[in-house]
């Protein structure tokens, strides 16, 4: 229970922080573009969904974690168990402050957002900046609560995995949501390369942290080997996305007409690729924050493939729904119906 709520908490933190970070980036891009209503502003408004989902997940899992840890500390009769969980409980109690600010900023931001789209995106930007500061405060709290050595380990590992995982989730969300709006796809391909760079920098930061902490001694045990296999697979898929996927996408949109969408087969391959990528990242998060030392490597690999299969199964349910919208979109084009413009479908 405690491990799973901890994983949920970090997943929520990753989604919120990546959502607000890229929301700020898109808002700044939108402000710098000279058009009155640009696609960048639309993309920044779309970051509201990850921000809200992540915030709800973060607050709920933080509460579960607090209750579960407090129960363990108060009810156990073993001093060693109390000593093990006491720093975690202290940290969770101090994290109450950024959680309260996070809720206040989110609610205040939503309160001020009005229906007039032209005025609201600037308010989105301020809300994103406020949320980013709150999530940073939540992430940096171990530095206040714990000794520097333990705190920096937790901050850097959570920060690097959160940045990579959150960016992967945010991009997959944007990619799946905007597939049928072909005029937005060139913008998504434009941000794909910087996003891949951010993910790789986050992985490099995690790797360097690991090497610094291990201080030359590598203790090989099954979860560690699985973590390295997932690390390598993430590198392979990121290189694949930053190379052939990005290049073929840019080529397709440069060659074909502006509103032509990709073939359904290509869409299915994209779903499978991004679904597998998300399952790799989720597996990486679980391996790092869940105690799996009781399992053998073979069992762990088998569990991972069950886990990845479950995620792909869920995405394959969402995929046909969006694919049917793609077909609807093509039919509208053939029937000379008005296509989606920059007003979007929000």
């Amino acid at each position: 229970m405690i491990d799973w709520s901890l994983i949920g908490m970090y997943l929520g933190l990753a989604i919120t922080s990546a959502g607000v970070l890229w929301g700020v980036v898109f808002s700044v891009e939108g402000r710098m573009s000279r058009e009155e209503t640009s696609v960048w502003q639309m993309l920044s408004v779309e970051m509201l969904a990850p921000m809200l989902i992540g915030t709800v997940m973060l607050v709920c899992c933080w509460w579960c974690q607090l209750v579960a840890t407090r129960t363990v500390v108060l009810t156990t009769q073993y001093t060693s168990v109390q000593e093990q969980y006491l720093p975690e409980l202290q940290l969770l109690e101090i994290q109450f402050v950024p959680i309260v600010f996070l809720i206040i900023v989110a609610l205040t931001g939503l309160w001020f957002i009005r229906k007039d789209r032209k005025k609201t995106w600037v308010e989105f930007e301020w809300m994103y900046v406020g949320m980013l500061l709150c999530t940073l405060a939540f992430l940096l709290m171990p530095l206040y609560a714990w000794e520097f050595g333990f705190a920096i380990e937790r901050v850097l590992s959570v920060g690097s995995i959160g940045l990579g995982l959150g960016t992967a989730i945010v991009f997959s969300f944007l990619f799946f949501k905007n597939r049928q709006l072909a005029e937005r796809m060139p913008f998504l391909y434009e941000i794909l390369e910087p996003m891949c760079k951010v993910i790789l920098v986050a992985l490099a930061a995690f790797m360097l942290l690991f090497f610094v902490l291990s201080s030359g001694m590598v203790y090989v045990y099954p979860p560690f080997v699985l973590m390295q296999i997932l690390f390598g697979l993430i590198l392979i898929v990121t290189a694949f996305i930053a190379g052939p996927v990005l290049d073929s996408g840019v080529h397709a949109h440069a060659e074909f007409s502006q509103y032509k969408v990709q073939k359904p087969e290509a869409v299915i391959w994209s779903y499978l690729l991004f679904g597998f990528y998300l399952s790799l990242w989720m597996g990486f998060l679980v391996v790092n924050f869940y105690d799996l030392s009781a399992y053998t490597l073979r069992e762990l690999v088998a569990w991972f493939f069950v886990f990845a299969g479950a995620i792909l199964f869920i995405i394959s349910f969402a995929g046909p729904l969006i694919l049917s919208k793609d077909r609807l979109f093509l039919r509208r084009q053939n029937g000379k119906m008005p296509v989606h413009g920059t007003q979007g479908r929000n």
Binding site: L200, V201, M207, L208, V218, I229, F231, D247
Partner: protein
């Protein structure tokens, strides 16, 4: 027919990832040096990618 134009750094990251997976599978056989080399290769590739190569 569209030909992919892969950047050298992207190809290097792909090779580094492959190296990490393969060496991780044989870590118990004592090939820690090769595993470390794969990580160093990844860092070099990343620096090249950030430099736009």
């Amino acid at each position: 027919m569209h030909h992919w134009r892969l950047k050298p750094s992207t190809l290097m990251i792909f090779v580094a990832g492959l190296g990490v997976v393969v060496t991780a599978c044989f870590l118990e056989a004592g090939s820690v040096n090769a595993w470390l080399a794969a990580h160093v290769f990844f860092v070099i590739a990343l620096i090249l990618m950030l430099a736009g190569k």
